[in-house]
Symmetry: C2
Subunit: 417 residues, 2 copies
């Protein structure tokens, strides 16, 4: 008997359940896999023996996988649990691998971001050290697009589409008044400006919004910002500025200075407020109408505005992970590469050694940022544009999107005996 | 010769251009109207003689009206100009009515909210006092749903749908973690809680989010709020709270206290920050994970999430206004009533004397708020639900919604000679 566990971890995107649906679909249709278990709340579900019997739900439910594919966040729940190193918690590793053996777990699929790939890395290394047979496959997801080894990450395209759509709609909202104004839109991205850069997709032949784009890859100067704004306001009424939450000054200090003290358990600074900080700066220096807008969690959960390209790629990454697993891969992450020899956008799936991926961060390369550090290049636009194409068909029920949640399946909750 | 002017004023909604498209469609197809002029930036466009020749644009452009119907904010631009009383500015009224006569303006259509209806009221009263022939028709719009004399206002249903959809997606985002948290969603509404109440539409058989809903119609007590939260957190992990920006305490003081000093030119207090205020309160008293989310301007500009019912009704209100004008109406606003004798939702259009409407505000009736003042009744849900039904077909271009803007038609800018 060969069973598999699927789990989800880290922050939400709208495409993580698309990857989950891809894994479930491929696993249920494979004659190499008997039971398909979903661990609740990531690796914590394995530690505490909390599972959903995914076969029970999705073998029976017509359209279930299609609805799951268009459901935001994590159907299985998430965690922020940092798996310790084996030498720091030998009993935990023993417990986990006894559990895997007892329940004939052949494959463990972990859909997550950078920190989740670290977990895949530790578990696959440990398995190799004790010659355990369970295989570990990572499936990437993050709106931040900051994983190395892949052209882009599942979840990024949809967040990019939401950011660009919102920017377009904010521009329409802003342009109606005949007065000088500055609108600052704060976009997620701690160290990497990929998502903030996606705001540039809103630019078209009749609108330059966002007029200015500031990424955390470049040091931010408040003085230069105000000087640039003053100049722009002499030729244009409504200035729209896209800023990354992680903007830092030349000394590496966050512009949202008051939040420097807060860090999460991975040691990442908890940020918020660069928009409000700059709003206050503009109000006190320039004195025109100014507003800041924080896109907040909707940029990672607004399924109703997802990119079909992203959702389809995310589902395919899930399917591919099962094929790689059955072919014997372990300690790997599914990656995507773009065919460079073709004018048409085409993605190929591979898998890469997780040790080359975990705990690294891909930032925007300098040659994709304009020399003035307040915009992005055409090459970067060409990279971004294919990722937001197409709209998934969302099923509406009583005027609202019909999303799945595990609360709908109380009979599928199980502990493995 | 009989010409007409159409103008838009006040804050944006996603349905104001649907009303504009309805007026243009009916005016262009009427043999009673020769030229259809759009005043730029509301009544200011009339004062400064800045117009768009709408006939020139929309007679030629195939699909133009369909695209206009699905474009957010104001195609013609808006203003916040408060028209003085005739006795305070007799020259201005003389200028305006000379202009109307010189250019054969028979009909003036003003699409706007409470303050715009005040302008219609003043102009129609003045016309009557000098026996001028120009007729003034108001077409309501406001996400606030606070105009009297109409079952609901164009623009409200779409904002309600956006608020409920966002709340649903925020709930999915929040429920993934296995820890105690409070999420506070701040929704627009200065004195009337209609839009905040619409968050309740996100509740379904598997989710109670939002768990608590606070409207400005009821005095808000910080102590009672914290006590309620503490109790709820003993039985549930993730609490989601919808609050109106205009929440006040028993003494009538805004909860977002620091903004009491700012008022706009109509004397309305400028609010923001009740979410942040309550986030800080929860952090300091309960100490669990807490986040506040301000839906901000997207709730009034997110056309990609509009209600088809709202868009169709808004367009129809525009068409009806032309029919009423041609039948001789003036000093009126188009209103909507719901057929009460029918289980099926059906709207009838009327027009009401503007003097009964301008400068009044419709708030949520007490019997639609629960006795505990932190929720809404089933009757209120039944009132709200039909307003968010259906999704307009948005045309996408290169991955983003294709919206119109006046910048696309430089040849249509005119001054009347």
């Amino acid at each position: 008997m060969k069973n598999c566990i699927i789990a989800q971890s880290g922050g939400p995107t709208v495409a993580i359940n698309a990857s989950l649906s891809g894994v479930i679909e491929a696993a249920l249709s494979s004659n190499q896999i008997d039971n398909v278990y979903g661990a609740l709340h990531g690796i914590e579900g394995v530690i505490h023996n909390h599972f959903l019997d995914l076969g029970k739900i999705f073998k029976e439910e017509t359209n279930g996988l299609a609805l799951l594919r268009n459901t935001p966040a994590m159907f299985l729940g998430s965690c922020r649990y940092k798996l310790p190193k084996p030498e720091a918690a030998p009993e935990l590793y023993e417990q986990l691998f006894c559990f895997f053996e007892a329940h004939h777990i052949a494959y463990f699929f972990y859909i997550g971001g950078n920190d989740s790939m670290d977990t895949v890395h530790k578990l696959s290394d440990y398995a190799s050290s004790i010659q355990a047979k369970v295989q570990f496959i990572g499936i990437p997801k993050t709106i931040d697009n900051d994983l190395v080894g892949t052209d882009h990450t599942p979840g990024f395209g949809s967040a990019a589409k939401y950011v660009a759509t919102s920017l377009l709609e904010i521009a329409h909202d802003t342009y109606i008044y005949n007065l000088k104004s500055v609108t600052i839109v704060e976009i997620m991205g701690r160290n990497a400006g990929w998502l903030t850069a996606a705001s540039a997709l809103a630019i078209h032949e009749h609108s330059n919004a966002p007029d200015l784009i500031y990424l955390p890859e470049s040091a931010f100067s408040k003085d230069a910002f105000i000087e640039t704004l003053r100049k722009l306001l002499t030729i244009k009424d409504n200035i729209i500025v896209a800023v990354s939450e992680g903007l830092k000054d030349a000394n590496g200090q966050y512009i949202a200075a008051s939040d420097n003290s807060k860090t999460d358990q991975f040691g990442h600074a908890q940020l918020s407020g660069v928009g409000k900080t700059l709003e206050s700066l503009v109000a006190h220096t320039i004195g025109c109408k100014v507003r800041s807008i924080e896109l907040n969690v909707l940029q990672r959960s607004a399924m109703h505005c997802a990119s079909l390209t992203d959702i389809e790629e995310s589902a395919q990454a899930g399917r591919e992970s099962v094929a790689y697993a059955i072919n014997g891969a372990t300690g790997v992450m599914v990656t995507m590469s773009r065919r460079e020899d073709d004018a048409n956008y085409l993605i190929e799936y591979h898998c890469s050694d997780i040790s080359q991926i975990a705990n690294q961060e891909k930032i925007v390369p300098p040659h994709w940022i304009t020399p003035t550090k307040d915009g992005i290049t055409d090459d970067f636009m060409n990279y971004l544009r294919p990722l937001i194409q197409g709209e998934p068909t969302i099923i509406y029920k009583n005027g609202l999107p019909h999303y799945l949640s595990k609360a709908m399946y109380p009979a599928a909750y199980i502990s493995l005996q």
